[in-house]
């Protein structure tokens, strides 16, 4: 899915951000859905998406040009999201859930479904599941990102599908 970003990184390190729009548009969706899988809230996910890419640019001089950029961004986004929860607790998150319920029918289904799935799956299973289903990463990419064997990724994913079918009944 994602090509090499080394040319972008090289330019950013030199203070040349002319290709940032292209870079961002290629990577924003997997990062956004990775955040969304944790927050289940679009507005908050937008905020954290912006924070993730800002943080990335602030630290770009320390990133190797051969670095797995997607993995790096996913790690930043997860840490920022978890920091957010630590800082503000989950209260605001739940409050905003209520707003989503009122305003967006699609979001209701998605949010409730994710909430249910989060209860069924173990954290590591949920992560692999959301990286594949929401962030659209291939199993090879997930294996590379998580530094685990592809067989382990597939095993976890298949196990998750079984659990979801059983836990949610007829889909």
């Amino acid at each position: 899915m994602k090509g090499s970003f080394s040319e972008h990184i090289k330019r950013f390190k030199e203070g040349n951000y002319i290709s940032f729009d292209e870079f961002y548009n290629e990577l924003n969706r997997p990062i956004f859905y990775n955040i969304y899988s944790l927050t289940r809230n679009y507005e908050l996910s937008e905020e954290l998406l912006q924070e993730t890419f800002t943080k990335f640019l602030m630290n770009v001089v320390y990133i190797d040009e051969g670095e797995n950029v997607l993995g790096y961004l996913i790690a930043i986004s997860r840490n920022l999201t978890l920091d957010y929860f630590k800082k503000y607790g989950r209260v605001r998150n739940f409050e905003e859930h209520e707003e989503v319920h009122v305003n967006d029918k699609n979001s209701i289904d998605k949010t409730l479904l994710l909430d249910k799935i989060a209860k069924i799956l173990k954290p590591k299973e949920l992560e692999i599941f959301t990286l594949h289903v929401l962030s659209e990463m291939t199993f090879e990419e997930i294996a590379s990102l998580k530094k685990i064997a592809i067989g382990t990724v597939l095993w976890s994913y298949n196990n998750s599908i079984k659990k979801i079918r059983k836990g949610l009944g007829e889909l």
Binding site: E14, G15, F32, Y62, N79, K147
Partner: protein, 386 residues
């Protein structure tokens, strides 16, 4: 292993992928440039009126030369393209001449450079001290105000170096492999690398490294020798570097020796760095000897030695610094940022001084930067440095 049929489940989430992300790339760039500018302003505010170039490499400290040399030799490996004139640079950024190439994209070089600040360890020249002793008579844990003052003095003499390790906001550029015709100490080296700092907008080189060649022994091992010029002083410089890189993992070992051409003082730098995925571990030491003979006879016969270890996992960074002399040993552990505004760090101190009969363990100190002053608080004691 075969993937299970998951079409129905994926379909359930397909609507979510229709969501149009509202955050635009230009909003992120603007936000980033504002933050970068604010960070630059904060650093400028923090710095003392002391000349920045001098703060980085100035003075007589041989250690600064060692660090500078290491940075030069490492930086040779990295060449980047000149700045694109169309790039939307932060207006506050200095204008970099196109003939200069990046140093800062080499993390190791940057780290070596920051450590030049540690040359001031244990000295307090031109440092205005203002002791505010809230309760002089009261013993806090195992520390009294005199011990606290020593601990603060020692930390304060290297606070800028520590700040730079944690923030890495220095900017250096290099003019690489320029032709040299100048004879120095009876020899004309073929090339010279000139180092420039953002502190004077890259207008004057503050350091020069003269050499004939970089000896690449094989893919992993590089050695170099040459002559270093810094503040009109010259040093013989020898370096050996071994690096190994595999997918997502890399290791580096570096040894650097510098000998002052006039005083024969010697500096030995050792650096080890391991990087794997989102974890990295760096250890570094710089030891100062009165002469080569002292070093050869006994490696522990240093005047003083500073070492540090930094571990990084994801966004978490843990820094530990140890400084040893022949009669004392001080460790600053778990140095970490606890607040951005005002800039505040905390650390634990272990200090042992045989000569002054001081022993301190697990003493927590908080350092706050306010209005150009540095406020150190530990227990009921506070000291201010300007």
């Amino acid at each position: 292993m075969k993937k299970y049929d998951d079409k129905d489940i994926i379909k359930k989430f397909s609507d979510a992928k229709d969501y149009e992300i509202k955050t635009r790339s230009d909003a992120i760039l603007n936000n980033f440039l504002k933050l970068k500018e604010a960070q630059t302003n904060k650093v400028e505010e923090k710095k003392t009126p002391k000349n920045r170039k001098m703060f980085i490499f100035g003075g007589l400290g041989v250690g600064s030369i060692a660090l500078a040399a290491a940075s030069i030799t490492l930086a040779i490996v990295f060449v980047s393209e000149p700045n694109n004139p169309n790039s939307p640079n932060n207006p506050s950024d200095p204008v970099i001449p196109p003939s200069l190439v990046s140093v800062e994209n080499n993390t190791l070089a940057s780290e070596f450079l920051t450590f030049s600040n540690f040359r001031d360890y244990g000295t307090l020249q031109n440092n205005v001290k203002n002791l505010i002793n809230i309760n002089r008579k009261h013993q806090v844990k195992n520390i009294n105000s005199n011990s606290f003052e020593i601990i603060v003095d020692n930390y304060d003499s290297i606070h800028d170096g520590i700040y730079n390790i944690l923030n890495k906001d220095e900017l250096f550029k290099i003019e690489e492999k320029a032709q040299n015709n100048q004879e120095l100490y009876g020899k004309t080296y073929k090339f010279v690398d000139r180092y420039y700092s953002s502190s004077d907008n890259f207008t004057n080189s503050f350091m020069e490294f003269y050499y004939d060649d970089i000896n690449r022994i094989d893919e992993e091992e590089t050695s170099a020798k040459g002559l270093m010029k810094l503040d009109e002083e010259y040093f013989d410089c020898y370096l050996n570097k071994e690096s190994e890189a595999e997918e997502n993992e890399s290791e580096l070992e570096l040894e650097l020796f510098l000998i002052d051409k006039e005083t024969e003082e010697m500096v030995v730098v050792n650096k080890e760095s391991e990087y794997g995925g989102h974890e990295s571990e760096d250890s570094y030491s710089i030891a100062y000897y009165q002469s080569q003979n002292d070093y050869r006879r006994d490696e522990d016969k240093f005047i003083y030695k500073l070492s540090y270890e930094i571990e990084k996992e994801g966004r978490e960074e843990e820094l530990e610094i140890q400084v040893e002399t022949q009669s004392s040993q001080c460790e600053y552990q778990n140095i970490k940022l606890i607040n951005d505004d005002p800039l505040t760090y905390s650390f634990l101190v272990e200090y042992e001084d045989e000569r002054n009969d001081i022993e301190v363990e697990d003493f927590e100190v908080v350092l706050k930067y306010v209005d150009g002053k540095r406020y150190y608080t530990g227990g009921d004691l506070e000291e201010v440095r300007i």
